[in-house]
Symmetry: D2
Subunit: 348 residues, 4 copies
């Protein structure tokens, strides 16, 4: 950390600041300037310290120079993490991870039909929500454990790993039993208790970026999980909240290459939530892959106008299959592959 | 809801939309225009329905005309809710609620000393954090149950109700035992499971607005709690996240009068988090009271530069006492009172 | 400026950076750390330099430590600037500046009637738009010079200085002839040519903050004007653009005390644009005064539903008079006064 | 427009609203509901009208159902506009427009060298700034007319059309004389006088989106130009301002397909400003092309650490040439081409 001292500080004022730095267990390196003096703080940047130093008299500003996260960083691990999620599928390698399925699990038949539909079009991971975060207490909140069973059965039948959202520590055992990947939703990105708990589980965890989550906060959410001993963390960019009202969220494409630069963890793009509009899902999916994303999460519904949630952003099977063909071309241009025709043929 | 149909829709297309509306259990009222046709949907606006209708072919836009919340609204209850929080203090009446204390509970002596300090300066509710939401897993996370005890003891000694944050369903029994008011933090405003659970408790609950929480979402968070049977909900504006980097958060003063207009629930202002800078806390506190807030939540620390968290925004006892004098003048101008000289004299 | 060098830089790499700093005419002060080295750049922080240093190899981050503005800062002038705007009215002193009138000047009678109405209720400065910035090319764009005449006549008749917006260098002579204060609108806050030109005029200039203008950019806009020799600059906070859709803009109350701390220039609050909703104007006006604003700019229209622009946020004469009474109480609490009953009585 | 009337309105209240609608020259179509009544307003949605209706008593909300722009819309012109910008280059066709060059024109040799460098790597349009919008009045503001000459000469020598920014009506004749495409910068997107004036010129105009410009406002800026008779308008997405501080701006990829859907005008992506970081420019450029952009605007400098502005986001010739190869692959996947090796070979 670097502490910039205001011009009117006396040598005694400087001395007080230096002493505080030393009491915090850090070394202080003072550079007295003609206008402003600067104190370099030697030792790890701790979150509390910036705050503490900022409140000292005569301190003008405090600048952090080291990153607050460690385990998720490229300095900690230079090579990309590739995560095996079962059924021969891995995330972060050359083949893209294509997670697809309905927003909510609606019933057993529908789930099985969805699995067949997305599998045939080339998805390699099945998604479906059994616990739904809903802005209103009066909205459909998901089938719970029953839904988890339908999802797991459909995944098994099609030979695909499944991903589903965990919303509460209360349900962690159930979700960990049925899911191959546990999803932490955007609204829980800073539910720190939940992050701690999924850090103790041995299943891969995908952390969605919060609606107003800064990149650093998002990486720190992943750090929470890794700090508890779970190295299998996947990040998911799903759009941020901005002033623009023409779409539900603004997909942040900058985040893809930046996170790949800062961290070794794989990054998935969710253009369904990232746009909230059917018509934008495919071009934004293509853009995300071109920019380096390791995969996609797409809401697919055989009959979007009857979906129990998020119909406005769901693709039909046909449009999803079309998306897969378009994405395949872009993937080739960036030396990635989409899950194979072979696999999908096998599933038919 | 109102469905606007695109100009190129045929009578058959319109018919399909009308039928979907009817299948959803609503009545459709069709107005065929020269350019666009409009379908009025008669019956309550359900969150899922907008989404479903938006995904129908030829639907251009869907406009909600009723509010998605009920119990929190002025239509449901025209007169302001006043909540008794114990020790003769209530929130939402003529006397302002002044919640003050340290961000984190640090130890027994410090908590007692803080209680005495803020009480003497005129606070009528004691705050202190035993469970701290921290962006980094490596930061101080609070004393837990031990801290709750120190807080409750200090409150009892000074004759003040206490407020503290609940972060997880796991800790609800402990927090409900010690706290007079349970705080839901900004990062948990959409932790829907937690909202459900505090709705089942009989203690008053204060819901902070999320960093990017829209007014409607915030009121729906309160609706979650009321829908479970707990009518004692307090709202707290604590600043939102914007593009401005000159302060930690941007205190949204517009929210105060708007929420008072839309809802009967009391609204507290937190200028400590709403600004993140000591120098702005007092003027923004005064502004919030002038705009109609029912009280303040202020971080106070005898020694901000040694606070274990949020030192940069904490006031000393002296500055807090100065704030109380300034706020008293503004309060008088809006026909409110600050907790009395009598009470504070008694505490000395 | 402080340059933080990445951990993997060699002594030769450091040397190259040091040499670049010296070539830029600054001195470099190198502190070699165990993990990262830091280079203090001694000499004024120039806007180009940060950018240049950031693009050097092995530079991790560059931190500015001095403010980029000078003439507008408290360091340059410690005491508040008070600006005489004619007719015995000044801005920045104990008496608040209350600017009121219609959004658009509609016709001669309406302007005169408006002047009488706002004067009677206690306004001391008359506002009215002759050139209107309109999002759509098909909207009413103002009466131009004809409107300026109506405004100036109405101001003269009521003995009030007038303020109006200048949108283009082309109209500067006309506007400067008729106006006592020239307004630079939010959309022109970074129209740098226009800022230069009003800097050469001898009339006071009020600069509104841009929809997404950061505090520093806003102060630099004022610096543009002062740098050309015009010291009479007034700032106006009029709400910023955020994710919240419940109001047209979000009034940023934090900006009031922060700008008063950083700068000696007076600050006016515009709660009409800052909220965009009639029902919020009065409480936010009261809040802004309590937080230290030097005055208000309020849209007033005898018949808001027939206003040619911004009717939704205009107050009637009656509500404006009520606002003046409410503001008077708050003003007293912060040792300010509202323009007198005497003046308004004289105008009747 | 649709007017939603509040539940407590009497038949007389409804009558007053209906009469106001009719006085505005529109027809009113009243649907009396059990809870709320709704008035359909038949006739074009004018910007003033929404505002006027919102301020009527008992009006709860007003919803616009038609778009406020016409000439720029797909309804007005279904097929994409292709704009010939000289030297055989056009924008909006199969071949991508690749605009490249330095942020600021620095001197004659540097400009010529830049033109040669970017031409060799495959650019087909040359960019360079002679008038620079600078946040600080003390920063380098460009060479003015002298710079325009260097740019035009360099373009002519390399057989490339040139684009440069116009900041003020004052300079319109000079800029129109030298430039093949006139750029309106982000800070001038709502400088309506400037938009009017470039609408009267016969040169193509590229309008950058403002830092907080909503899609609708951006399209209306283009409408201003078309309404004056200039049909040759190009849009440019250059990143928006959000809460994220990890990059200078957030490139809004959603805007690309949405604008292509709403409008027939071509859209260029500027990932240099859209990210502000060298390391992100190439992946975001690839993403933008994959999502459907008609071209790119890239800052290129032979020596970024010595650029007079925006060095941090400039690519060297080598990296720009690498970008062109990467973009070529993505372009092929979306059936677009990059300007040919043939052309660049010819220029050597």
């Amino acid at each position: 950390m670097i502490i910039v001292v205001s011009p009117n500080a006396t040598p005694e004022d400087l001395d007080i600041i230096v002493r505080q730095v030393e009491e915090s267990g850090r070394q202080a390196h003072l550079s007295v300037g003609t206008e402003r003096s600067i104190i370099g703080v030697i030792g790890p940047d701790m979150p509390e310290l910036q705050d503490m130093f900022e409140s000292l008299p005569h301190v003008e500003s405090v600048h952090r120079v080291t990153k607050p996260y460690k385990l998720v960083s490229r300095e900690f691990r230079a090579t990309p993490t590739v995560i095996d999620v079962g059924y021969g599928v891995s995330i972060g390698g050359t083949e893209l991870a294509i997670m697809a399925g309905p927003c909510s699990i609606e019933n057993e038949d529908h789930m099985m039909d969805s699995a067949r539909g997305v599998r045939a079009a080339g998805a390699n991971i099945l998604r479906g929500g059994a616990y739904k975060p809903r802005t209103s207490p009066y909205a459909f909140r998901g089938l719970g454990v029953e839904g988890l069973e339908y999802l797991a059965n459909a995944g098994r039948a099609m030979g695909m790993p499944v991903i589903t959202e965990l919303m509460s520590v209360r349900d962690i055992d159930e979700v960990a039993r049925y899911a191959d990947i546990i999803q932490i939703g955007a609204r829980n990105m800073q539910n720190f208790m939940l992050l701690d708990e999924v850090g103790k589980v041995r299943k891969p965890v995908m952390v969605k970026r919060a609606l107003s989550g800064q990149i650093e906060e998002w990486l720190l959410a992943a750090e929470y999980i890794m700090a508890q001993g779970n190295p299998n963390v996947i990040l998911c960019e799903r759009g941020i909240r901005t002033f623009e009202t023409a779409y539900r969220n603004t997909f942040d494409i900058n985040a893809i290459p930046l996170v790949k630069e800062l961290s070794h963890l794989p990054v998935i793009a969710d253009p369904s939530h990232g746009t909230g509009k059917q018509g934008l899902v495919i071009p934004v999916a293509m853009g995300a892959i071109a920019a380096g994303a390791d995969g996609l999460m797409i809401e697919v519904h055989n009959n979007p106008e009857r979906a129990l949630s998020d119909g406005a952003q769901s693709l039909t099977y046909e449009r999803f299959a079309g998306m897969m063909r378009s994405v395949a071309g872009v993937a080739a241009a960036v030396e990635r592959t989409v899950p194979g025709v072979g696999a999908s043929a096998a599933a038919r």
